[in-house]
Symmetry: C5
Subunit: 374 residues, 5 copies
Amino acid sequence: MAKIRRIQLKSKKYIPLPGISPGSIQLYEGALPSKITAFAYDNTEYQCEDLNSLDELDKYFKKRPALTHWIDIRGIGELELYDYIEKKYKIHKLVLEDIANIQQRPKVDEYDGYLYAVSRMLYVDTGLEIENEQVSFILFPKVLISFQENYTQKFEPVIHRLQSGKGNIRAGGSSYMLYSLMDVIVDDYFTLIYKLGDELETIEELLYRKPDKTLMHQTQAIKRAMIMIRRAVWPERDKINDMIRSESKLINKQTKTFLKDTYDHCMQVIDLVESYKDITTSLIDMNLSFISNRMNEIMKVLTIISSIFIPLTFIAGVYGMNFAYQDPKTGEILQHNMPELYSENGYVYTMAVMVLIGIVQMFYFWRKGWLSNK
Amino acid sequence: MAKIRRIQLKSKKYIPLPGISPGSIQLYEGALPSKITAFAYDNTEYQCEDLNSLDELDKYFKKRPALTHWIDIRGIGELELYDYIEKKYKIHKLVLEDIANIQQRPKVDEYDGYLYAVSRMLYVDTGLEIENEQVSFILFPKVLISFQENYTQKFEPVIHRLQSGKGNIRAGGSSYMLYSLMDVIVDDYFTLIYKLGDELETIEELLYRKPDKTLMHQTQAIKRAMIMIRRAVWPERDKINDMIRSESKLINKQTKTFLKDTYDHCMQVIDLVESYKDITTSLIDMNLSFISNRMNEIMKVLTIISSIFIPLTFIAGVYGMNFAYQDPKTGEILQHNMPELYSENGYVYTMAVMVLIGIVQMFYFWRKGWLSNK
Amino acid sequence: MAKIRRIQLKSKKYIPLPGISPGSIQLYEGALPSKITAFAYDNTEYQCEDLNSLDELDKYFKKRPALTHWIDIRGIGELELYDYIEKKYKIHKLVLEDIANIQQRPKVDEYDGYLYAVSRMLYVDTGLEIENEQVSFILFPKVLISFQENYTQKFEPVIHRLQSGKGNIRAGGSSYMLYSLMDVIVDDYFTLIYKLGDELETIEELLYRKPDKTLMHQTQAIKRAMIMIRRAVWPERDKINDMIRSESKLINKQTKTFLKDTYDHCMQVIDLVESYKDITTSLIDMNLSFISNRMNEIMKVLTIISSIFIPLTFIAGVYGMNFAYQDPKTGEILQHNMPELYSENGYVYTMAVMVLIGIVQMFYFWRKGWLSNK
Amino acid sequence: MAKIRRIQLKSKKYIPLPGISPGSIQLYEGALPSKITAFAYDNTEYQCEDLNSLDELDKYFKKRPALTHWIDIRGIGELELYDYIEKKYKIHKLVLEDIANIQQRPKVDEYDGYLYAVSRMLYVDTGLEIENEQVSFILFPKVLISFQENYTQKFEPVIHRLQSGKGNIRAGGSSYMLYSLMDVIVDDYFTLIYKLGDELETIEELLYRKPDKTLMHQTQAIKRAMIMIRRAVWPERDKINDMIRSESKLINKQTKTFLKDTYDHCMQVIDLVESYKDITTSLIDMNLSFISNRMNEIMKVLTIISSIFIPLTFIAGVYGMNFAYQDPKTGEILQHNMPELYSENGYVYTMAVMVLIGIVQMFYFWRKGWLSNK
Amino acid sequence: MAKIRRIQLKSKKYIPLPGISPGSIQLYEGALPSKITAFAYDNTEYQCEDLNSLDELDKYFKKRPALTHWIDIRGIGELELYDYIEKKYKIHKLVLEDIANIQQRPKVDEYDGYLYAVSRMLYVDTGLEIENEQVSFILFPKVLISFQENYTQKFEPVIHRLQSGKGNIRAGGSSYMLYSLMDVIVDDYFTLIYKLGDELETIEELLYRKPDKTLMHQTQAIKRAMIMIRRAVWPERDKINDMIRSESKLINKQTKTFLKDTYDHCMQVIDLVESYKDITTSLIDMNLSFISNRMNEIMKVLTIISSIFIPLTFIAGVYGMNFAYQDPKTGEILQHNMPELYSENGYVYTMAVMVLIGIVQMFYFWRKGWLSNK
């Protein structure tokens, strides 16, 4: 039998302290120290290096001035990171605050000389815990910096393509790299949705066979997950649309063509989410009707047994009464007192009447359709 | 009695591998090898040929350069197909990916020299399984290529009209052919919806006569089917609207007039779908109230029988008590102990009281309206 | 007592055959042969004639070339009708198809030299069956042709006004006549809605006095009727709006002023429909709570009676046990065996205890408010 | 204890006769004869006169040609009124029809030389009956005519201000007067809404203390009243917006500034209505859960008492069986037949077992939390 | 165990007297007398002073003409305040009315020389009472006046920043100060929402462990709070958007950049609110299914016990009947009268049959799954 595992939404809270100076960096609880990997490539060359500290970044760039660069930063829990980025790249304070505030909705903001974009990466952890991670991007003409919350290697397929040099990933410049990473994120939505969809199918199957309290909870959990995904995808779609219609020179025309494809994928995700959300609603409705049906079934059993035996017990009770045959004082025979008890076939007739009553009732219940299991 | 057959939505999953190069062809599970039929026609001529392989297509075109061509490809599960199309017709990689990704929403994309359109074909299989098939079209000035997932011959009526040369199908060029095929697809929605509508009527009829658990499931299934159809028709409508307002030279003015008609049909389908969706909601509501009513009925039977006989049984129980007539030790008569048992008409009076109580209760229940079956 | 009659929506199905040539006329099942009445009028003259066949129409026009004409065609089930109209008036094939396809949504289409409009006429038949009839109009500069499905004389008030020559109906030209007929149709919605509203009031009244299964069905039926009316009125409103903003010379300025009035009526109809739809929802909710309340009432009766008598019956049962007074073998008196039975006032005390238990329970139930009928 | 009075919506029906000539005046049932009060004022002067008939109006105007006039007409049930207005002021027939048709939605229509506006005045009658009255206005450069259905003096505060000459009401011209009256109407919505809101609070309080069938009805009634208010306020808002953006010279700039304030009030009314509507929904939900909870409570009492005493009664029944101690024929002792009855402490042990069973069950129910009243 | 405290929405009513002159100040019940604190600052200087009366304000300004000023007024219950503001700053009467009318929706109005803005400040009081306070702002080129209802010091963090001179708060001018205060208000929404969110989590946890009537009320209360927050945030968002797109010179470009950040925060608040509202709906649904499940459980206990013991009691009742062994008159043995009673193992067999019946029933219930606690 298919087993049901509990789905959970991981939730990290980031409560802005009211009144702190805008642009102040406020790290969320549990933010990780940064791991930095730097990629440099063009049509012919490809280099990848793990950096131990931000300081190495300078040297790194000096070595390869002509290449396209992608700096992949995993873990955003060090204040030095923000300081460095701000000073080195002249990034607006509000952008840095947004990178640290991990509750951003997907959006794209254009600044002088660079572009800031946020995506939400959704995936199922081991143990059916849904991770909702923020990924920020800063796009320069020849450099892309990405910021991830966790150390998970979700961009590995892109790195693989970069290594192998297939497709136009090496020739597309930094905006194509941005597209590639965002595309991975959107494609991951499908994986997540189908995993939840499979759970739904299991639930539906079990619901027909063996309805159960936990199914309701699981359905509710999936419904909430769907709502969460929808909340990520709608602004994702808007963001991609903004990028397609953007007049910024940072995003080249070829990238826009590919972004249209990602836009279509977003629409498909939205369709799927709505579809599965409808199914959860339908399952919850069905569950309620199942509960009511079971109640009906229980009540029918009670009613049938009680209705048959209570009247019979009454009859038995009548003939268990002790009305005297003769007046104990006078010895006079009280002939109206239960003469049935003293007739020859009193017992047999009584039992026959009882059986008859039982049969009549069974017939009545059968005609009402209460005996069939529907 | 009308029988209820289970409606099912066939679902094929196409999960894009995150991070694969955009434009990579990823075949869905169970994709079929291609069968190709080529049609060539103009006002006077008509030819139809089944091709064994894509290579024959070249020869085929050379033989009839002046005619309008429709290449009908059924089955999209061969990678060579995409290769051939790409090389021969200079189709963008993303278009090819879309043809293979069978979860496209209806849309139309304009490219240099050709136009790519997607429709969703919905129809009921034998066995009430609803098929949701993707049909892609590539439209050139004189050639239309259509891509279907399955081998079903849903375009037969168009082929028939082409053969007989009736109407302006032969004179309308490739865009009129595109319209004709899309029109068939939209008209098929009516067939599907009415079939589901008939099921709904059967369900409603049964609901009044003999409510049943399976009716609920069937109603839910039809509701989902309606949601699925709606999800196909809305973007279909938008697509047609885009085509009507398109400035592409590929779609001629006459075709646009006819597309307006298809647009109206889409609106009618949407109306019907909303209408039937409302009916399913209404049926689900009614089902719940039926279940509650049945519970009421069951409880009334239990309550009537219990309420009448439990007090009577109590009375019988009282007179079945063994309080002694005389003290066994002293032989003194205990005159307060159940003197009724020794009165001349004790039994008769007791029974009379019992009957009276029963009548009073029946009257009470009758006045409450519990005896009528409502 | 107000009686409830079953409301039903008449539904005619028109399933377009997929793939038939666009513009092909497909008659719906049960389409009636045409009856034609021709009206010719101007400020001073008025003539009305029933024509036996379409052929007479020619002669008819020749006799009165200067007048305004209204050709009223009732019944659209003859193919010759479409042929004649097409040839005589050069009407587009798609318009003819739309006249025959009786599932059109209200709309207005402008063509060269004429204008095609569709309205939906809703009215209650005898027997509370709601008729949903399509009325098509073709408007020429001096001629209006109207097409109705049935023979019902819903336009009689207009004919009456035409006859009497009151108002500016004779002077307004063919577009004013079109307005007049559409106005009749919209005003008829009020009649229908108020009739349904009266039913709703009856239902609500009965619901408070004597809730009943059939009330639920009736409410659901009215809800559906409201949904159907809404589906007709919204596009009707849009159509009228299109006509008001149309730049066609066929609709003169004076007519547009009057159409604004019809537009306002449409808005009122929409308001009423929404209002009554809310009431149906509210009635369905109340019905459900009534059912639950009744269940509560039934359960209270059962619980009160069972709770009181079951413990009493138990006590009676205890004293009906046959534990022996003396050991039958040894004759020794078993003094622990139910000495109550042999005490002087055992019976009286037992009965007193029983009465006391009953009173305590009644008091408990009274305090819980279960004895009042709420 | 707070008492609940039944809220009712007064509904007057105005069913347009289909096909009557547009602009025909059709009086609603119960329309009152007109009472006319004329006000004439400027910065320095103020005069108020009750007119006995429309004819006096002429004389009235002649006496005070330079002043601003407000003609307050209460009661619109006389056909002469419409005749007089039409002839004297050259008002369009459709406007007159709209004044008589008391189901207009709030709107403003501009005509040559005058402006026609409709408001809906909502207020609670004595006896919690909600009145929904139509107020029409015709605005000329120096004259405002208002038409009310009833004789209620809802404009008294404005008259008072006019008398006292405070604010700029006397200097603002006829459009400011129109604004003042409309402002009174919108401010009255607050009074109505808060009255209903107070009822809702009473209901909620009672719901917690003593749920009752009538509370449900009252909640439903308030919900409907809220829906009715919303239906009046939304178009009211649109109307005011239209007036603010109108280019008509009849509404001067200063008035528009004040209308913006009324617009804001409309938005507040809408907010309040939505808020209270949400509360009614929440109360209906809570009511349903209360009903279910009470059912649970009732069932618990039944189950506890039955479950405890039914098994005990069975035991008592067993020892009330009459299996013979010795064979009556042979006198042989049947030692397997209920030896318990003849044991020394049979009764005591039996009773002990019964008490034990009762205690075990009570403990079970207590652990399930059924004994606490939750 | 987590404890549930009751959440309440504080509601103050402000019912405009219908017909009072627009711009009249109407104080709400409980309005507090004003406390005034004046701040004057520029890049180098900072002064803060508590003023005893409005008259001191003049002197205050004269002393520091070149600095930026923020006048913080807490308590708006004195008519002299409005008089002073009106005369001194030439503020429009409607603005003053809006300051006093504490039910304004967030909005921004531009006037000649100044700008009027309203925000709604939401926070949880001690005791989980949610305060919904109106904060008004009047923005001049170098002066900002803020009006709060209560004496709570919600702007303390800003004052702190002002004191310390960190960030660009001292250099940003009055519009930056306006932004800072509005930003505090929006950030406070997060605090409130997360507090309610924590409550929701506690409720959900308790719901699984120990469902309870009060949980339902609490959930409903949180749902309403969410609705109230949403009602504040949406217009807040629109207001900020209006300010960003405003062409007024009062708001400088730098401030607009920061307002975009606040706009994003509003969007996040809206997302969170929708998210938590969905969770409340889900909890209410689950609660209902819990209640139904408990009912099922209760009924199962009743049904199992009744179904087992009622038939057994019947059997015991049968053998408790007193059918005579021999005719008391004739002494003839009535051999059909309950011969079982006199058989050797009658009692043992009877008990065995009873046990068997019990076992069969238990098996039946076990197979139905009624014995497991699901």
